[in-house]
């Protein structure tokens, strides 16, 4: 490697990955949601868990909330609670998929009353943002249909555009709306925002403060995700990432777990396109720890992103360009692979220690006894999950 760890550590030092509060609650499949001891019961406990991840890694300075799962009476107090724990409140995620009214759609519904209810929910979320100091309103729509003919997919698209316009009009000066797309699930015939093209067309119609959110698990099989990253950066419309990984569908596994090389390529394109440590491009996790422990699951996740960022930064851009321009296919590929196969873990461990962090945050967490402690403390009550 021509580029050394010393060359890249400054860029690593400013990396921040937002954690989703719901990753600390129970999750599962339609078949079963397994519970685990120590699972948080309140937004505060979720935030405390997220803060633990940040404490050990220095990588996760903010926590995204999901409304109504994280509804509280006093958001200013929640913000103070978070800051006391060393983290900020981040993106506000709306939810229009768990109310019976939304069975056939929310922002796309044919019934204006229900559609307005969904719009109002987003107004409420903007209110929360004002109280928490959050910048981003993230909209993921479960809207779609299960059977051909069930809905008028064109009319739904038009109504969505209208609803988004109304929501966008309320977005504050320093706030943003990010629109997530998803290939399928929970709808099984069509989703109203199935692909980046749709999200791009919708947010472009809204204005500069509307951007696309790219969830790495929300694509058709075989999709070249790093290409979309490149394209959205090129078009100035990549607002945020929801990181996770998948073998099949929206598996929501730990980022980097299913295909580490894909994560490498994605982050390489982020670097290439100026998206790293760029405040306009938010890094966030969105995962489900169905069978593994949640706090270490999140620690593992941010470390995976950090390690892969280190590898991506090690790519020798000059050598790469030389080989690319010469049509040297094997040589160009080798430049990339050389960085990917470099074991950055020892350097990262030493560097963490130099910054007052544990060399191995996973080991440090296991040794801390923290999991046993919260399991003992958090008895009774209702464990948090997607339901509440």
């Amino acid at each position: 490697m021509t580029i050394t760890f010393a060359d890249i550590s400054a860029q690593l030092a400013t990396q921040a990955i937002e954690l989703p509060s719901w990753a600390f609650g129970n999750s599962g499949t339609r078949f079963k949601v397994f519970s685990t001891p120590g699972t948080p019961r309140t937004p505060q406990e979720k935030i405390a868990d997220a803060a633990k991840v940040h404490e050990l890694t220095g990588l996760a300075p903010s926590v995204a909330l999901h409304i109504p799962w994280d509804k509280v009476d006093d958001y200013a107090a929640l913000r103070a609670f978070a800051q006391d724990h060393g983290v900020d409140l981040g993106t506000i995620n709306s939810n229009t998929f768990q109310d019976d009214d939304y069975k056939f759609g929310s922002l796309t519904h044919t019934d204006d009353v229900i559609r307005q209810k969904a719009i109002d929910h987003h107004f409420e979320c903007i209110g929360v943002m004002d109280a928490t100091g959050s910048r981003d309103l993230k909209i993921w729509l479960a809207d779609g249909t299960n059977y051909p003919g069930q809905g008028d997919i064109r009319g739904r698209q038009d109504r969505m555009a209208d609803s988004l316009e109304k929501i966008y009009a309320r977005i504050g000066e320093n706030q943003r709306l990010v629109l997530e797309y998803k290939f399928f699930e929970p709808a099984f015939y069509h989703m109203d925002v199935p692909d980046w093209g749709t999200s791009y067309a919708q947010v472009t119609a809204l204005g500069d403060k509307a951007l696309v959110c790219l969830d790495t698990g929300h694509h058709a099989p075989g999709t070249n995700i790093e290409f979309i990253v490149m394209q959205l950066l090129r078009l100035g419309k990549l607002g945020s990432f929801d990181f996770n990984s998948r073998f099949y569908a929206d598996d929501d596994l730990i980022v980097g777990a299913a295909d580490p090389f894909q994560l490498f390529r994605i982050i390489y394109e982020v670097v290439r396109g100026g998206g790293l440590n760029n405040p306009d491009v938010a890094f966030m996790l969105d995962q489900c720890h169905n069978v593994e422990d949640k706090i270490p699951g999140q620690i593992r996740s941010v470390l995976n992103v950090q390690e892969m960022t280190a590898r991506a930064l090690l790519v020798d851009g000059g050598a790469l360009k030389t080989a690319q321009d010469a049509g040297d296919v094997l040589g160009a590929n080798a430049v990339l692979m050389d960085a990917f196969y470099t074991d950055v873990r020892p350097d990262l461990a030493a560097w963490r220690e130099s910054r007052g962090l544990p060399a191995d945050p996973m080991k440090a967490y296991a040794a801390s006894g923290h999991l046993a402690k919260i399991a003992a403390e958090r008895v009774g009550g209702q464990q948090a999950s997607w339901g509440a």
Copy 2:
């Protein structure tokens, strides 16, 4: 068409499609399970709903049970209840995916105590079969792992073989074990029975009373399902179908809804391979009516199978063989398409009436006011769902 409806009606007259009791309960996704008025609260109410489908279609003379969802104290009484309503109890489906003990496996678990518990559950199911007079024990295993390394996939396969052997040893003279395979979900890295090859290898090791269950929604994208139907019939190992349809993953939509032509091709291979009206090959539904009404959803489903069977029976085998042997690609394909595009609905309607059934069972059900009636009656209690 050279073949007329009169030529095929005798074969249609004996067609039977088993209904799953759980199709009448609520179902959904990990995001939300919507409830509907009139949803059954007990196994008896589910059976009554299934009987209604049979009453209007003459196609669904039996109901599959799921243990423990359909657990009752007295299975003989349940059987009598069913028969009073004009239907029989059919396949018994085991469930080893909703107990906390099975988080890391059931028949494949490394812990012999848990593994024995799962085996014992199947013994219990065989006991139910003895009481209900059911022939088939259907095993669908949710067993699998979410992360590479999480389990020893070879050891799991060996333990599964051992567990199945123990269960098979209890299968009665006139009973059968059918082993279902599934590509993914709820496990997202590997499933212990992911494909027909694995199910085939496992049941072949057991003996003649062990067969494969083919769920039409449990394959990788693009899989030619009718080829598998052909192959399993050829190998004498196709025990049963779980019919449903899909656009993406295991969507569990109404059979024939997503790709009618695929259903046609599947049933054509059933006919070609001697699987129609063959007691060794059980036709069954396994679907989720997440957003549509359940009883009419099941009526629509059995009608779809019936209509497609009629079309498949209309294929002119002689003309097809002539074209195939001549290398007449377009001619051979045209023979198939001619049958597929034939509108069999008027003939079927007339034939139904001639047998004392409503010409249009969907319309008859809608006109009956039955849905409003059960919605009014079934107030209070806990609506059935996958949970219980």
Copy 3:
């Protein structure tokens, strides 16, 4: 059905589907290209074959050319030849994938000399258009890479934008540029125009005379193609279709052969979105008759489109809207399925005869002895294929 054939025949009467000249030449896979007797050897013979399809169906009044495969000295003479045979010359397709210079790209190449050569080729194509009276220049780019790192995918996108701008500047007042996208092949890591979003972003940057071409075989597994049709019509950017069908990848089978219901849904959205008989939306075939006869293969194809258009026009829009607005999932779906399952073939046959066309163009062609005639005539010379 509330809507009758009489209600829709006027719309069928004006339907036009362009044929690709290359469909009459030999095609195949990387493993083998099989030849067949009677295959054309010249552009003139291809046009004559296309004219035969139009003669028997009344559906295919124009022929698309591929440059250089259809290069001639005198395009005005070729146009006159076509018109003498009763057809017009249509879309001009450029080719930047068969010259050794384009191994690493054409409009995206890092070498300005090669890139200019590719641009010049499009200028040449525009020259051909001027001579043939063609309206549309269709650009399908094989550009892409096989290995991560092989190319700078961002730089390639920017160079493509620049190249397209130069080409677009030469597009005449009444001409259009349509940009086709493709998921993969011949490049196996990334394609420079892999999805509709990329094509949309690129043509939007160019101007009003630049539009997207949607090839029905160029999507990831499971993609909801009719959604894209809806969206592009909504955005005013659907320029043309390349019809074919597929089970796996870009199989280029006869349109409607692999999934008739998908074709129905696509055409339904065309109708819904105002794209039928709309001069702005060109219907075209792009297929490979690898193992079947070519002229009847094309006849079958245009008939498939016509039959499916008839079914799509039969959809009772009023009943559909009523059911959709009522949340009647099964009812809404049934409206669609009723039209799909209607056998339109007898009405179409009678209507064809009333217009002086054969009732069954496939049978008429077979009876004509035309295939034997051209097989006898076209001896010697070099059969046309993708190579030349």
Copy 4:
């Protein structure tokens, strides 16, 4: 890592990966086959190229032949030629996809004359094996159909069984028949051997000397290939690998290029199941170097397999089992990932030098000027490709 490089080097020392002669010829897609200077024109030149790979890596002691592409008058002489160059002749690959007679099938054809011709071709291949001393006859069948109805898929399966039986009867005492499966291409509706289950059922019917060949590029999207490796090893039927990699379909890219972690998991299961350095399990490449140089492409490929084998051997089996049995999902996964992320390249380089090989075979080849030398020498004649 508890396991060190010293612990595993003995296992690396005996690793052998067979090279396909055709990888040194030109290949491409249906769109274009690009030629490159220095491409071999004869079987001898291909063998010389393969020998160069072995000379620099010590990993590739044998070369597979493809009949008729590598047809010679005197196979004993060819064997001597190979041995003079330091390599043996290996697997004999039959070809029943390039003769016009096989348009509609070979071992499955309805015409007994054509079917016998295909059987006879395999007899000829067995004759070649006798002369070359090859052990394995590899059968990959392109047989299949493009349209539903085109063939009787059941009859084809039965005829294939009969054909294979006749071929198997001629297989010598120390010879084997391996049957490869493939998901699709060149047939686009059905393949006669589409999946491992079909290959397994067919070879099991033949006998002990018939086994399955697993080509890593021949599966449906998302297929867990290492599971199939595990299963076939468990069933004693994994005869050989065709290594390559893919992003989309059968891309035939360099092994390990598209998804290095998948290659790691595959080799880990080979190790786990006793398939490494097991003479019963042949490692072979089957790739297409469409745009990259061929000899270094093959060097890169065997190095990829070697490096990944080293990583797989570094997995700490004891720690893995402990974590697995404890239900420690993250811990078990970490054991695997630790080995995967270990940079084995420096140890491998030193070890190569200790064995008289270049530390970096890619660099050594580039420095050797060999490519320029053969480009200068190999002028005129017909470059080898899939065609001949």
